[in-house]
């Protein structure tokens, strides 16, 4: 910066003022400084300025992986939004429990970011408390956290609407397949199951817990086993609502392989509207992770820039039923 100042024949203060776009700089001086900066390829060191301003200009993001439709879409929307606000995006990828423990012990983001976005982590009380005194705004994405800012999709309503769609088609035996992760069920998982149950209750369909099964989506064998459990019931379902599109796609493949036509003999409904839903012409309940990323970004910027902002604000995003080719009217019951 001293070099730029010298070249432009002004003081460092003036260079700083110019480069930050402050108003009190005469046009000719501004022009000289800008040119000098350009000629010297000068860029302000964020690290030096953060030292004095106390703001880092960084938004940190905590994600379990980047290798998923949801994360990819959300962060791809978040990135440009932050850049437009002249903020940097630093990402902490925490794939396993060991990394997770070390992250929460060290909290490397402390003092190195202005805010933290926590994506799709179902935090323990202790972890949440740890984040609470991180000294920066924290926004929880894809989960509800009481008293803390969060952004999530209305899983309950989405699953309720999806289930209603199946009910309207005449289905009464409707199964629900949950996605079981390494650490159990996610926030969304619970919400979607609840929505399914609500819709059934609404329609006076008796609850049958045997119709609810679970499997990890990436374990195809487990998915087939879960399906087997449903098909071997005394009164098997005529429709399956999968908590996720990948699960739905696995189910469709398994059903077709065993000669059970979809949707003629079995309707299948997914959730998410991932690209795989389009490949399989899958009826599904859509959510928009890019909207989620965008909203989370706006919220986090607001929390950073406005100390008055409500730090416990919730934003709930809508879902939409996307009927495609894998749901159809229930087959007429075989004569008993």
């Amino acid at each position: 910066m001293a070099d730029v100042a010298e070249r432009a024949g002004v003081s460092a203060s003036t260079v700083s003022r110019t480069l930050r776009g402050l108003s009190n700089v005469s046009p000719d001086v501004r022009a000289r400084v800008e040119q000098a900066a350009r000629e010297l390829n000068f860029a302000v060191s964020r690290h030096a300025s953060s030292l004095v301003t106390g703001r880092t200009g960084v938004v940190a993001v905590l994600v379990p992986t980047l290798n998923s439709w949801f994360m990819g879409s959300a962060l791809s929307a978040l990135g440009p939004l932050l850049r437009a606000a002249d903020m940097e995006l630093t990402v902490y990828v925490i794939p396993d429990l060991a990394e997770r423990a070390s992250f929460f012990e060290q909290l490397p983001a402390r003092r190195n970011a202005d805010a933290l976005l926590v994506f799709s982590f179902d935090l323990t009380e202790e972890e949440g408390a740890r984040l609470d005194d991180l000294g920066m705004p924290v926004v929880y994405v894809s989960q509800h956290a009481d008293g803390r800012a969060s952004v999530y999709v209305d899983d309950v309503a989405g699953a309720r609407n999806g289930t209603r769609h199946l009910l309207h088609l005449g289905h009464r035996r409707i199964a629900f397949v949950q996605s079981r992760g390494a650490t159990g069920f996610s926030f969304s998982s619970y919400g979607r199951l609840l929505g399914y149950q609500q819709a059934l209750a609404e329609a006076d369909v008796p609850r049958d817990d045997a119709l609810v099964v679970a499997a990890p989506p990436e374990d195809k064998r487990a998915v087939v086993e879960a399906l087997g459990a449903l098909l071997s019931l005394r009164e098997p379902p005529t429709a399956v609502f999968a908590e996720q599109d990948e699960l739905a796609a696995s189910l469709i493949r398994a059903l077709r392989r065993s000669g059970i036509e979809v949707p003629e003999r079995m309707s299948v409904l997914g959730f998410d509207d991932q690209p795989v839903a389009d490949w399989f012409d899958l009826s599904t309940v859509s959510q928009s992770p890019s909207d989620m990323g965008r909203v989370a970004g706006e919220l986090v910027l607001e929390l950073i820039n406005d100390p008055e902002a409500d730090p416990g604000r919730h934003v709930v995003l809508p879902t939409h039923l996307i009927p495609r080719a894998t749901t159809a009217p229930a087959p007429l019951a075989d004569p008993a």
Copy 2:
């Protein structure tokens, strides 16, 4: 840090030494300092230390999007690797040309990172030159850049091997479908086409440019049109090699819809081994983006830590043919 020093009853210098793990600290003092730091939840400000050490402790990454199998897998592998080296990962998502122009004009990474990883950008000469005097190591991923460090997959060999597979199955009319992006063809695109052509030449199959068509993978209509062009040839192909799995999947759907059985009447081969390949039981040529991310990470750390390291090193990663269910022997030629 002053607080920690006071609490531990030592000077700031000693705290700094302790926290950086330098050797000349007596065990009892070290213990006291560590406890004080823990009690105060103290974390060193990277920004302050970078100011004096001149190292930021961050690796910047430039990506066109995060919403793709390749980027997701690569960065999910890169992240933990950098964390293990106590480096932060900042991501610049540059989805369109306007952002791109502004990125290369401002080069926000300048002085704010220790190195830059450029993923899957086919840079102009000018852009490359701009990065050259960025003042930090730059590693090009998924592209070859003369005289600059780069990591990429052996597209030529992969496509050659894939094409050989089809030739061995007796195919002679083999089409190649390129993936056309908004800005034309990628580095990989050229390599894969070249490998295809080499294998045909090897087998003395005459080159027929009508068998090479292109479409943007996300534009299903364009893919169908490209397929139509192939099917309406005087002598249509009996096998199609798609530059990408998504393209292959779209082709399979279109073929099956028009009653052309895959693989009985038409073999289809993909490239990448994305999850969609598994869904479609697609024969393909696999590459490993997570290996790519890992190797790129190791390379970049080496360049940061060892000023002697060769800044023009290339790492070329292998591919593997994964035969599945969409390639089969060529149908016997109809009697002419």
